[in-house]
Amino acid sequence: MTPLWIALIVSALGSYLLKLAGISLPESVLNHPRVQKVASLLPVAMLSALVLVELCDGGGRYVLDWRTLAGVGAAVVALLLRRGLLLVFVVAIGTTALLRLLT
């Protein structure tokens, strides 16, 4: 087995074990009100972070593409107009793709 294969399998299993660890907290811990409070806020904090990191992280430095920003801006408008996720998605990629085609 090559080192690449071993590194690959270690990463794959490690990633699975990380996922398993989170959902394996004992019920006694999960039922604690403070833990419930934190657990309900965790995805909000982390997904908000993910949105901005996806937008401006160009490999450890800030990279902003105005066409991507415009696409996400259009998505925000669609969200304010209370549109569903699929339309938001289409509006975002459509706007960015069109601007990229034109510029």
Binding site: I9, S15, P43, L79
Partner: protein, 255 residues
């Protein structure tokens, strides 16, 4: 798998096969059709990104089998791209392990929240764990009732997993390096996650937590390895959730 898991999967399949029956479906469970549509949308985007992953991975020198083991077993987009990028960068492939795992740590945090809604037990926990990723967490977060949350988690997980594999294999075999940016797909992830977060941002406390988490992550980008900024945002949730007066008027968090 327990009955509950099987029931969730059957529910997903049943509603997929009865698209013409939308009216009766929407009377019983009005949240189902929109959730399924959203899950399909996320699935399509996953297929496109999977294809780009397959092409990048084989292009960088991994075999088709190695590429598919990553998609099937590692099954976490950001970690997969990081693994391929670092493993083929010229140094030791071992450097790719921490790079991939660091991006996977956030799934452990997601699991803590999901464990409450999904309440997986026994063997079911082992299956559920595999599907704990950004998209399933966000889709579950976007629903109101526990039932809708479970349905959203499984519908998104199963559809995304399937299409991610189809995409990866196609990309790995065809290998044409289509740049996802040409199709505006770089705007897809932030737009989709924002859309899924949207309903949770109704409370002032969530808005502050989201804002502080995002601010902290962005500030850290140039200073820490990939993956760490998003994990660091968990600290904001910890501070906000553990502070003594978390019941009445939410104030700004200083993290």
């Amino acid at each position: 798998m327990t009955n509950e898991t099987i029931r969730s999967i059957v529910e997903v399949m049943r509603s997929t096969s009865r698209t013409n029956d939308r009216f009766s479906l929407s009377v019983a469970t009005p949240w189902r059709a929109p959730v399924l549509r959203a899950a399909l949308g996320i699935g399509l985007y996953a297929a496109a990104f999977g294809a780009s992953f397959g092409a990048v991975s084989v292009g960088a020198g991994l075999s088709v089998t190695q590429t598919m083991v990553l998609s099937l077993v590692l099954f976490s987009g950001a970690s997969q791209f990081a693994f391929v990028g670092v493993a083929t960068a010229g140094g030791s492939p071992w450097a790719a392990v921490p790079a991939a795992l660091l991006l996977g740590v956030r799934n452990a945090f997601y699991g803590v929240g999901l464990a409450q809604t999904l309440q997986p037990r026994g063997l079911r926990r082992l299956v559920t764990a595999h599907f704990v990723i950004d998209e399933t967490t966000a889709m579950a977060l976007g629903q109101e009732s526990p039932r809708a949350k479970r349905y959203a988690f499984w519908a998104t997980g199963l559809i995304l997993f399937t299409l991610w594999q189809v995409g990866s294999l196609t990309g790995a075999l065809v290998g044409t390096a289509v740049d996802p940016a040409d199709f505006g797909l770089d705007a897809a992830a932030p737009a989709v996650f924002l859309a899924l977060l949207w309903p949770s941002l109704r409370s002032a406390e969530s808005r502050w937590v989201g804002l502080c988490g995002a601010g902290l992550a962005v500030a850290l980008i140039p200073h820490v390895p990939a993956g760490v900024p998003v994990i660091a945002a968990a600290a904001v949730a910890l501070v906000a959730g553990l502070r003594p007066t978390s019941t009445s008027t939410p104030r700004k968090e200083t993290s």
